[in-house]
């Protein structure tokens, strides 16, 4: 919209209305309702159809305006103020005299009441549009734990978090990002726990964003991350309110973006991507074992194909003789070297997975049938790949689904291919070099000033209670040193009760 030469509203109602019409190019969903009441008050109600709640528009604003205004026929000093404070029986009203904020409110679903002979307009909160209900999380599933996920509505999302943490210290700051989309973004943190430096850094980085549109929290994530040159996510995202609440209690900062159920949590550490919300709801021993299992799965999905390539190509002596003969017999008819074989199979699997994600649900079955044929007995029977390779690819694929955070499993997928190349060229030596480079890279990463590998390097003994292991809640007396700066104590030592 072209900002007018005159940024402020005019005194004349008609010129204001025509300016609004012109600015919106007579858009269909712009509704302008002109009104005259018996007192001779000329006014107009402007709102966007579909963004507003018709109940509020009809019963609250129009009814009251038509009736109450009549009874209050006396000429009070400021009619506008009187209207705003005494007549309109709605929650939130703002007086605006400039066009830009007025348009913003209008497009956010507020109704704008313009009066004749007044350079001010009353904006009335009347938002109401079709929303998805709070439903079950789809990407981060738990067996035991809350079954609610964030929605696309930022207000609902804020409420979902507030319902878990009822403390006035849970502070929320809002801002609009995106020159055209003007997406509302909120940051939430526990003021008495979170590190003020990190909160300030989040504010600063969000403030520096200068982009035309924000459609998903992924935009924000890429715009505020510490470095772009890494396959690893340095910002955690989740659609689970309980995960966010737990993060806030650990002193992290949540960033909510309107229009997406994925809420960001910073700072994010490497180990966080291996932790599931359920770890804290199940018994500690089970959770610990599951976490270790996840880590083993991570290693398998990262290394299995490259180790297979390295051992079968360079270090056959490591295999027991009977197994070696077995493998050699299988590979006898296979025309490709192990690397090509592995690459082809991994690529096939990646294609299948991508197809499974993108495909309409109704044809989902087709993929699974074709998929089992491609990476399965048929491929072995055709003599293109060896059966052992099928097993390796399958265990790699299944292990990659064990990692709770998708952002981490995607990173692993990418690195796996690099390691396969190194293994094919230099055997275990190549894998070792790749591993050293990987660790070097991980160590160089930071998330909002916190080392990405914190708790492992630098090693922090007191944080080990909740990294690879999860101690029982009775033992977790302090917050992780990584994120929380102050108020470290989570619970007082309990009095030993004698039974």
């Amino acid at each position: 919209m072209n900002a007018s030469v005159d940024k402020r509203l005019d005194r004349k109602l008609m010129s204001n209305l025509s300016f609004i019409r012109a600015s919106f190019g007579n858009s269909q969903d712009l509704v302008i309702k002109e009104m005259n009441n018996d007192n001779g008050l000329q006014a107009a109600l402007v709102y966007m159809d579909g963004l507003t709640d018709s109940t509020v528009i009809h019963h609250v604003i129009l009814d009251y305006f038509m009736s109450e205004e009549q009874t209050a026929s006396r000429k009070s000093g400021n009619r506008l103020l009187y209207l705003k404070n005494a007549v309109l029986a709605v929650g939130e009203t703002v007086t605006i005299s400039e066009w830009d904020p007025l348009f913003y409110q209008l497009l956010s679903g507020w109704a704008v009441l313009l009066l004749a002979d007044s350079p001010d307009a009353i904006c009335v909160a009347a938002e109401g549009w079709k929303d998805r209900n709070v439903s079950e999380p789809t990407s981060q599933v738990v067996v035991r734990g809350p079954m609610e996920a964030f929605t696309e509505n930022i207000a609902t999302n804020r409420a979902l978090i507030r319902r878990k943490i009822k403390d006035p210290q849970l502070w929320t700051e809002g801002m609009e990002i995106g020159k055209i989309t003007k997406t509302s973004v909120s940051i939430m943190y526990l003021r008495n726990v979170a590190d003020e430096k990190i909160v300030e850094e989040v504010r600063k980085r969000l403030g520096e964003i200068n982009i035309d549109g924000i459609l998903e929290s992924g935009y924000i994530e890429e715009l505020i991350q510490d470095t772009a040159l890494t396959p690893f996510a340095t910002i955690y995202n989740t659609e689970r309110p309980d995960t966010i609440a737990a993060g806030l209690l650990e002193g992290r900062v949540a960033i909510l973006v309107d229009g997406t159920p994925f809420v960001l949590l910073v700072p994010a550490l490497f180990i966080q991507f291996f932790q599931s919300a359920e770890d804290y709801y199940q018994r500690a021993d089970i959770s610990t074992l599951l976490r270790i299992l996840r880590f083993i799965a991570f290693m398998i999905t990262l290394l299995a194909p490259s180790l297979y390539i390295a051992i079968t190509t360079f270090h056959q002596e490591m295999l027991p003789t009977s197994l070696l003969i077995n493998l050699a017999a299988q590979r006898e008819g296979v025309p490709f070297p192990a690397f090509i074989e592995a690459l082809a199979m991994e690529l096939t699997f990646e294609i299948l997975r991508e197809a499974g994600v993108r495909m309409p649900k109704t044809v989902g079955q087709a993929v699974s049938i074709v998929g089992t044929l491609v990476i399965g007995q048929a491929a072995v029977d055709a003599g293109i790949v060896s059966a052992a390779m099928v097993i390796i690819v399958s265990i790699t694929a299944i292990s990659s689904f064990v990692i709770p955070a998708t952002s981490m499993s995607i990173s692993v997928r990418m690195i796996r291919f690099v390691l396969m190349g190194l293994a094919a060229s230099f055997g275990l030596f190549g894998i070792l070099l790749g591993y050293i480079l990987l660790v070097l890279h991980l160590n160089s990463l930071q998330s909002f000033g916190i080392p990405y590998m914190q708790s492992f390097s630098p090693f922090i003994w007191s944080n080990q209670k909740d990294t690879l292991f999860r101690l029982p809640w009775t033992k977790m007396r302090t917050r992780a040193v990584a994120t929380a700066e102050k108020n470290l104590v989570r619970q007082r030592p309990r009095n030993k009760q004698k039974i």
Binding site: E317, P320, G427, L428, V439, S457
Partner: protein, 368 residues
């Protein structure tokens, strides 16, 4: 390095000390000690551990005496800017040489034992990136890398030792004494010189270590643990392979690892030893490399060290290739190298230390 003084914790220092001492020694020390002490190589080790830890303590002591000062500063204090600078340069040559020697050792090992067809140059080239990246990041990066890799390293090391237990034949240690006391001492000299005396590179690192009352204790414990670890490797080597094979194989521990066989299933785990060897040698290389680069930066008062990483990377390849015509020639250096090490530490180091102490004393008197 970037002058917001990087610091490392005492735990990280201890890990680096362990990596450094075990370094390439887990492959080279058994044949060297066995060559001079024969069956009594284990006794060389027993003598070597306390003396070695003593040497490590001496080096630590120097840094305590001159807190916050590196080897370069100490040399400057001892002999003034010019003579001290020249002495520092001599030390830097040693650091540079030893750093790249490690690269050559890895390349020699990989090309003779693991991948015969791969050219040595390629192995050196491959190592350039991990080495320069680590040194570029400074001591914090190196220390953190060590912290993450250490569990893997120690797990593999312990696994190797446990799997070798069934193969131990204690009769290989008999007769107890073949070479007599001189032979044992000669073996012990290697045990003291290579792992422990070379630790003077840590004089470039100590000033980055956080203050802690446990510093001395943890440091010495790490040195002791690493000393015992290489001693165990020597004992295992003789017990599993016998003296002859230990002495006459360049990489006898590697041959030893080939003997692993648990129920015909877990067998031929020499690749595990190779991984361990490459990890610890790599660390020895980057610690020396860091000491060299930091020393160069201090000596010539440079703002930043990062611009040196590209030439250093080139030098790794070139110098490693140039060091020796082949592995056979390379092994010939061992005895000469022993005395070379002793020249620096304790030799020159002691000289510098005494001179610096005297200077310190004088200046104090002068003030008073």
């Amino acid at each position: 390095m970037q002058r917001e003084q990087q610091t490392i914790s005492v735990r990280q220092l201890a890990i680096l000390v362990i990596f450094f001492i075990i370094g390439d020694m887990q492959l080279y020390l058994p044949p060297l000690t066995a060559a001079f002490a024969k069956q009594s190589a284990w006794m060389s080790g027993l003598i070597g551990v306390p003396f070695g830890v003593g040497a490590a303590w001496f080096i630590f002591r120097i840094s305590k005496r001159f807190p916050g000062k590196t080897l370069i500063d100490i040399n400057n204090q001892a002999f003034g800017k010019i003579a001290g600078g020249l002495l520092s340069l001599v030390f830097l040559v040693m650091m540079f040489n030893t750093s790249i020697t490690q690269v050559r050792e890895i390349a020699d090992f990989v090309t003779t034992q693991m991948m015969m067809e791969t050219p040595q140059l390629v192995i050196c080239l491959l190592l350039v990136l991990p080495i320069t990246l680590a040194i570029r990041g400074g001591i914090t990066t190196i220390a953190r890398l060590g912290e993450v890799i250490f569990p893997l390293f120690s797990a593999l090391f312990i696994l190797l030792i446990i799997l070798l237990i069934p193969k131990i034949d204690l009769t290989q240690l008999l007769p107890i004494e073949v070479t007599g006391f001189p032979g044992i001492v000669k073996g012990a000299l290697f045990f003291i010189a290579f792992p422990f005396c070379e630790m003077f590179a840590f004089l470039m690192i100590f000033d980055s270590v956080e203050e802690s009352e446990h510093a001395a204790r943890d440091y010495l414990l790490a040195a002791l643990a690493a000393g015992i670890a290489i001693w165990v490797i020597i004992v295992l080597c003789i017990c599993v392979l016998g003296v002859f094979a230990t002495e006459h194989t360049v990489y006898s521990p590697y041959v030893m690892a080939k003997k692993i066989n648990i129920g015909d299933f877990v067998q031929r785990l020499e690749a595990v030893l190779a991984i361990d060897y490459i990890i610890s040698t790599y660390f020895r290389c980057i610690i020396y490399g860091y000491a060299f680069v930091r020393g160069l930066q201090q000596l010539f008062k440079l703002q930043d060290h990062r611009f040196m990483m590209r030439p250093f990377g080139f030098l790794i390849v070139g110098y490693a290739y140039f060091l020796a015509p082949g592995i056979v020639a390379f092994v010939q250096f061992d005895v000469a190298w022993l005395f070379w090490v002793f020249t620096y530490s304790p030799g020159l180091l002691l000289l510098s230390y005494i001179a610096a102490r005297l200077r310190q004393g004088w200046s104090k008197k002068g003030e008073g």
